[in-house]
Subunit: 432 residues, 2 copies
């Protein structure tokens, strides 16, 4: 049987998962694909820690370059993370025409252009199933399964930490800070949680999906990124009363002549399949013009699910090496069918907002007047009974409105002296 | 750009969908895959009907063999259906070493062995994404996305007609016969609905998924197939009270040294993602030993979703032709890891059953005694208040029991003179 030699860069959680996965299921995989996948070299700065698996120490080194250059290594797995060393090593492997399998969403989101070009130039494979949605085969499904479709929209719950926090807040009524602390203790959130809870990680993944679906590069700096930090349980409850659940959502949508890419906490219908995605699970809904609505669900992170995705890419690369069909499925194809990002101000969305309004005669008329002047029409209002002369929460759901108009209206409302606190607002996606 | 010539056999609903899909998105697909997909010939007995799309009449013929043999045809799409003509033509194409794309689940389920062998012998590709789950890329996901996993179980809602009927019965409390009639009028069910409602269609798909996941051929005649015909709204309601929903489910499960494959109406937890799959939608949950739980959801039938799947296979075949990597992904690989089908009598499951029991002192003790002697323990009982001396429905949920034991217990219970009607029973899957 053919054998493919693998060089692994980064022997952390996921790296150990890949080695373990190949130890466990290697013979089954070999029978399935007709090629044996063999880890020939492993590079990591830490040669000592016990990863809970048996590895021949002699294949380990701190010198990643020597792994890439080793003639026994035919494919390189990059699991170092970050955008500095990982980038240099990825580029180095591609220049040697060695295929690379990576889980590095930040690298692809921030330097995809350069990396994809170099892969193309060298006719080297670059596979990245593990970079989005953990074990969910979403890259493969979009790129190959839905290849016949114009993608109309993609909605993704792509960050397990955010989804865990929001699920727990809703289910158990615990405030944001407490859940975050608990998640950190349980290992579901990092000590520095910003990458997750401020939306950066979701945005990295959104940018990768958007580029794949629409065939033009999307820059992180050009998209709207809002996080879930400090979400108030009050809004989770009001949303629920109105039939919605708040999810940290990546929204990628083709509207007329442009593509929207945005990441923010979003009200989605409680009864929708995406609304049922709870805890650390991820899900992606992709709508194609032919296939209609499709949805993919699974564990979005962690040692084993991510390893499963890396192994699926290894299998593809191995087949390509055996059949000499390198670059059979390029990592990125510029088809630029829509080719343009919609600026955030032009986005049309429905809004949920919560005003802290002094309960006085005529106040609601003033709010309604501001909304009307900015072409925002009200879909529903919830105001609980209260004592006159106090600030009360008033929840308003709008029909579709233009983001820049809504933003102006919000500033005007917040400037009213009868508004007691900064107005909280979230966007709504009805997913229909 | 490279061009691949396609011969289409069967110009019905799905065939027209494929032609339309290529007309609509052909240039986008060509940019994505670097190959142009061109319909060169179409065979159908009906050359007259208007399919609602423009087609050059000169490429149409009633002679399917001439299409297969045409040198301009490099890949054959089989959309004739059935297991006679479709089989002959598929074998003929493979013998000419021409790759075949098919949506024909019956053909693969009943003659997979012969077809897969011939494909292997001739190193010809055979792709069948459209045969299971319509537009959902489930074959690709299982075969490639989860290639690194031992599959522990697959649960599938695979027949839109059944799911539509069950959804409508539950939502609107309409009896089975009325919903079936309505579904037939709406085109969701065939005039001869047996293939769907008696479980055959779901079984065809289950057999294909099982063979793919476990690498050994599974015969239709060896598996348990039960349909939804005559399901009583009463049981749908009782199930709901107990937190379950009745779904027509394909259950494929590795247990110790064998694989269970069975198709039957099944109680599944109402809160599970699969429980939320309503109407004509399909979904498949696949559990891998590394990746954990994954789920795939979308439209399971119809012109456009099925066409989307066929086109995805065409793209794969086209790439294989261009890269000369035919049989890169064989249609079936015998890895026989478990290799054995569990006989139905040995299956362990939980059961829901509804007794029609004369409300007399001591009756429940007699039932409990029968269950106890067959090693069946009761998880819960529901009995509504009633007048003494009448037959009342008693609903019992069991813990795990052996099928053959349960069957014997059922016969004993039904032989009691105090049991007024044949006991209704369904299996439960907790999906956890």
């Amino acid at each position: 049987m053919n054998q493919i030699g693998i060089g692994l860069l980064g022997f952390g959680t996921v790296g150990a998962g890949v080695v373990e996965g190949l130890q466990k299921n290697g013979s089954l995989i070999a029978r399935r694909i007709g090629v044996e996948l063999v880890i020939k070299r492993i590079a990591d700065l830490d040669l000592e820690s016990d990863r809970g698996i048996e590895v021949d120490r002699s294949i380990m080194t701190t010198d990643a370059v020597s792994v890439i250059e080793d003639p026994a290594v035919q494919v390189v797995i990059e699991l170092i993370g970050g955008t500095t060393v990982a980038k240099d090593l990825t580029l180095r492997a591609l220049r040697l025409k060695k295929p690379v399998v990576t889980a590095n969403k930040a690298l692809l989101a921030e330097h995809g252009d350069e990396i994809f070009s170099l892969a193309e130039e060298n006719q080297a494979d670059l596979y990245y199933e593990a970079s989005v949605g953990g074990g969910i085969p979403i890259i493969r499904s979009l790129r190959e399964g839905l290849v016949g479709n114009h993608i109309e929209s993609i909605y993704g719950i792509l960050n397990g930490t955010c989804n865990y926090i929001l699920t727990r807040m809703e289910r158990d009524g615990i405030p944001f800070d407490d859940v975050l602390k608990e998640a950190q203790e349980a290992g579901y959130a990092e000590a520095e949680p910003g990458l997750d809870i401020d939306g950066i990680d979701t945005a990295h993944k959104a940018v990768i999906l958007a580029a794949l679906a629409y065939g033009f590069p999307v820059a992180m700096s050009d998209i709207c990124i809002e996080g879930i930090r400090g979400i108030d349980p009050m809004d989770i409850n009001y949303a629920k009363e109105l039939g919605y659940r708040i999810k940290q959502l990546a929204v990628i949508k083709h509207v007329s002549d442009a593509v929207e890419v945005r990441v923010h906490p979003t009200l989605i219908p409680i009864n929708h399949m995406l609304g049922s995605v709870s805890g650390v699970f991820n899900a992606v809904m992709a709508n194609g013009d032919i296939v209609g609505e499709t949805l993919y669900y699974g564990r979005g992170a962690g040692r084993e699910p991510t390893a499963s995705a890396v192994i699926s890419d290894l299998a593809d690369v191995a087949r390509n090496l055996v059949f000499e069909s390198e670059s059979r499925v390029p990592p990125f194809v510029a088809h630029e069918h829509y080719g343009k990002l919609r600026s955030m101000g032009d986005v049309e969305a429905r809004y949920y907002f919560r005003l802290s309004l002094l309960d006085e005669p005529g106040m609601m008329a003033r709010v309604a007047d501001i909304l009307g002047r900015h072409k925002i029409s009200i879909a529903s209002i919830v105001q609980k009974e209260s004592k006159s002369g106090e600030h009360v929460p008033v929840i308003i759901l709008t029909h579709e409105a233009v983001e820049s108009n809504f933003q102006s209206a919000l500033e005007e409302m917040d400037a009213l002296k009868e508004v007691g606190a900064k107005t909280v607002r979230y966007r709504i996606e009805d997913l229909a």
